[in-house]
Symmetry: C2
Subunit: 131 residues, 2 copies
DNA sequence: AAATATTTCGTTATATTATAACACTACCTT
DNA sequence: AAGGTAGTGTTATAATATAACGAAATATTT
């Protein structure tokens, strides 16, 4: 067993806490400056926490934004992420659609081999930006 | 009309040419060092060419790799990209699957609004790496 | 408990990726 | 030929991310 108490460390909790409180994807250096008063003073501290949080599924990275969001815990697919991203304001929400998740999980390439993970980013315009 | 002869400029051709000759996604600074003998000496020259090439659909960016690939010209969906990426060697191929492309293009969120674009990255292990 | 291994930590430095800004050039349109 | 737009070359710098190292904390084995 790697870790008896499967708990997050102090730094990991601090970073997760900040991400969860944000209602938008946050950037690593934004996290850094916002938690610096809690003792995290250098990029590696943030990136290390992020790495762990992503590994355990608490956080996802939005690749096209170089930003991070908390998992909304409705993740249907453990190995895949689906996000809708507003092209105008970057507002991002995790999409929980069983059909879509199943379609992607079951998808096989030409050779019939299945994939082990996926990341889908859907771009559109959010309600507020349309209005 | 913006540009009568809808042609690529010299720099754009140089960059596209290099990307097309590569059999893997290439990084911007790798492009830069490889075409420096052709006169492109600073990052903005490469990034500007890339921007244009992406705009006209000749090149796609692989977000999770910060890399660029030439469109294989079998793009089914003009506003969406689908790539399979080998987790082990980064070998990337554009996936041309009509069903999947249609499913994604037609996908609507909870409110019934359609998206204007998407980017799907499928992660797996390529033939060579499996062997 | 002591010894060992593993993970995390704080820190400095640096690598990698990408853009701002500015003056200038080439070309297209009228 | 005059004006507009897009592209160019350049310098500098911003933004994102990791390498490396030794110390500290936590787990596991003895």
């Amino acid at each position: 067993m790697k870790n008896k108490k499967n708990e997050l460390t102090k730094n990991q909790k601090i970073v997760l806490d900040f991400i969860q409180k944000s209602n938008k994807p946050v950037k690593a250096y934004s996290i850094l400056s916002n938690v610096s008063k809690k003792g995290l003073k250098a990029p590696p501290q943030v990136y290390r926490a992020l790495e762990k949080l992503i590994e355990v599924g608490e956080v996802h990275k939005i690749e096209s934004l170089n930003s991070f969001v908390a998992c909304n815990s409705k993740c249907i697919e453990p190995n895949g992420t689906i996000f809708s991203i507003c092209k105008s304001c970057d507002q991002t929400t995790e999409v929980s659609n069983a059909d879509l998740a199943k379609f992607l999980s079951d998808f096989k390439d030409m050779n019939g081999t299945q994939f082990s993970g996926f990341n889908l980013e859907l771009f559109g315009t959010c309600k507020s930006c349309k209005a």
